[in-house]
């Protein structure tokens, strides 16, 4: 019922509007296990937030919570201005989650998968084709059943589905997994374009070097809690370690 040590107020990125994600002392359980143990996090519109941390730290649960898939047991959470305790369904349609599973139908072709997920979100044929092209899936691959693709190709297809769905909040769980060098470049490009179109992105990744280049801010997740780090922690262009 009570929070542990209060987490310091999140970074002061240029923000005027309400935060896209606002979690306060959130507890979420998987069965009896508290995957999130009082996590607090605020993400502003247009940010690309990198979640790092060891396996089992709670990154996946954090993303699934933001997608409205995992109920919160304690604490408060708002996503896109909707209270997750009362309004879990309201955020849907605006959130895109790429989880460990890709959500593809193995028997349908790449194009059919992207078309189905695009159409359920009301995307036009043009947008669906654009998504396929953007990930280099418009050629021979388009007609291959998703079940016969390699892991990286499936990942790409899932990304294309995500683009076709035009979400406002992107939740990417280990998006680099299984992707080759080309695929990673494509992924970076996809994220940049999404942010350019006004989306906010949360990425959980172990590919730190790769993801740090993209991220506007980095936080560490450990023990079901979120620990803030300065954006320059990575030793990037703006200064050294504190």
């Amino acid at each position: 019922m009570s929070p542990v040590e209060p987490v310091p107020a999140p970074s002061t990125t240029v923000a005027i509007a309400a935060p896209v994600v606002a979690l306060r002392h959130v507890v979420a359980v998987l069965g009896r296990f508290p995957a999130l143990a009082g996590a607090s996090l605020e993400v502003q519109a247009g940010e690309v937030l990198l979640l790092k941390g060891p396996n089992g730290a709670g990154k996946t649960t954090l993303l699934r919570l933001c997608a409205g898939l995992v109920p919160l047991v304690r604490g408060e959470a708002e996503v896109l201005g909707h209270d997750l305790r009362t309004d879990r369904a309201a955020i849907r349609q605006h959130v895109g989650l790429l989880g460990h599973q890709n959500g593809l139908y193995a028997d349908l072709s790449v194009r059919e998968n992207v078309r189905f997920w695009g159409r359920t979100a009301g995307a036009s044929d043009g947008e669906i084709n654009a998504a396929l092209t953007q990930l280099g899936l418009d050629g021979r691959l388009a007609t291959v059943p998703a079940g016969r693709l390699s892991a990286g190709q499936r990942r790409r297809t899932a990304l294309a589905c995500l683009i076709a769905r035009r979400a406002r909040l992107w939740l990417l769980d280990e998006p680099h997994a299984g992707l080759d060098a080309d695929g990673r470049d494509l992924l970076d490009d996809v994220i940049r374009r999404a942010v350019g179109a006004g989306a906010t992105v949360l990425v959980a990744s172990h590919e730190l070097e790769r993801a740090k280049a993209l991220a506007t801010r980095i936080v560490t997740v450990a023990g079901g809690l979120v620990h803030n780090e300065s954006p320059d922690d990575a030793g990037a262009d703006r200064g050294g370690r504190v």
Binding site: M1, V27, R32, P34, A37, P54, P71, G223
Partner: protein
């Protein structure tokens, strides 16, 4: 569940009084004790009236005494399933989505299944003595059997796990589906039997001409079993409350352990 439960008072962020209540694990109150004693007295009465004071039936002899258990258990089972349906609706349609309604629904269904099993057993024993067979495809019997199976399924769904609210919502939906299923089953079986009246076992009909003492014994049985039902529901739903509390208290311990992982990580 958790084997490494430290002294609950030492856990920061734990509601200490809730935890100490759970160690006592008491489900009774003054009211339920009075109710329990009253139930016990009436059950003794039922035994006396049912077995000793009431006369045997002219045609069925002493087998008629099964009725003093059979009819009340059937009544209680239907009452219990009614309460389950009602509580499911209360849970689902009230804004608060209170888990208390869910626990009443679950407790009532468990007790209903138990009494319905007793109804089926006593009924088939009586059927053997009176009709010569254990079972007849009569509309009421068939509906009863379906009711039993349906709520066994309901209890299975309650045990699926997940959060308390997930359990509550899933089972409340199922509880309401059962309410709309039962009339359909009954209607179809009734229509079936009325269209094809195969002279199998129907007579003697089993209607008993009851004298005053027999009626009174049945009445005692109905009251005794109703009280027993309320007493059981009270205790069972409180036990369920304690189980839920126990899970939540476990959560406090687990939260502390979980947060401690952070320090290991930062040390590493």
């Amino acid at each position: 569940m958790s084997t490494t439960v430290p002294n609950p008072q030492s856990i920061p962020g734990t509601n200490a009084s809730a935890v100490s209540r759970r160690w006592r694990g008491i489900t009774s109150t003054g009211f339920s004790r009075v109710l329990g004693v009253a139930t016990l007295v009436l059950v003794v009465w039922l035994v006396l009236f049912g077995l000793l004071f009431s006369p045997p039936d002219q045609t069925q002899q002493s087998s008629v005494r099964i009725m003093y258990i059979h009819v009340p258990t059937a009544w209680v089972a239907y009452l219990a399933f009614g309460v389950t349906g009602l509580s499911s609706a209360m849970y689902l349609f009230r804004r608060a989505h209170s888990l208390a309604w869910d626990r009443v629904a679950g407790a009532s269904a468990e007790i209903g299944v138990m009494f319905m099993a007793l109804t089926l057993i006593t009924g088939s024993l009586w059927g053997r003595l009176t009709w010569g067979v254990y079972w007849a495809w009569d509309a009421r019997l068939t509906t009863t059997a379906f009711l039993f199976v349906t709520y066994v399924g309901y209890l299975a769904v309650r045990r699926l796990g997940g959060s308390h609210q997930a359990r509550a919502k899933r089972s409340a939906v199922l509880g309401l589906l059962a309410v709309i299923e039962i009339p359909l089953v009954h209607f179809s079986v009734e229509l079936w039997r009325s269209l094809h009246q195969e002279a199998s076992v129907a007579n003697p009909s089993g209607d008993v001409k009851m004298d005053g003492l027999m009626l009174f014994s049945l009445f005692v049985g109905l009251i005794a079993f109703s009280l027993l039902y309320f007493w059981l529901v009270l205790h069972r739903q409180r036990a369920m409350y304690l189980e839920d509390q126990y899970d939540d208290a476990d959560l406090d311990v687990a939260l502390v352990e979980r947060r401690a992982e952070t320090k290991e990580h930062s040390r590493a």
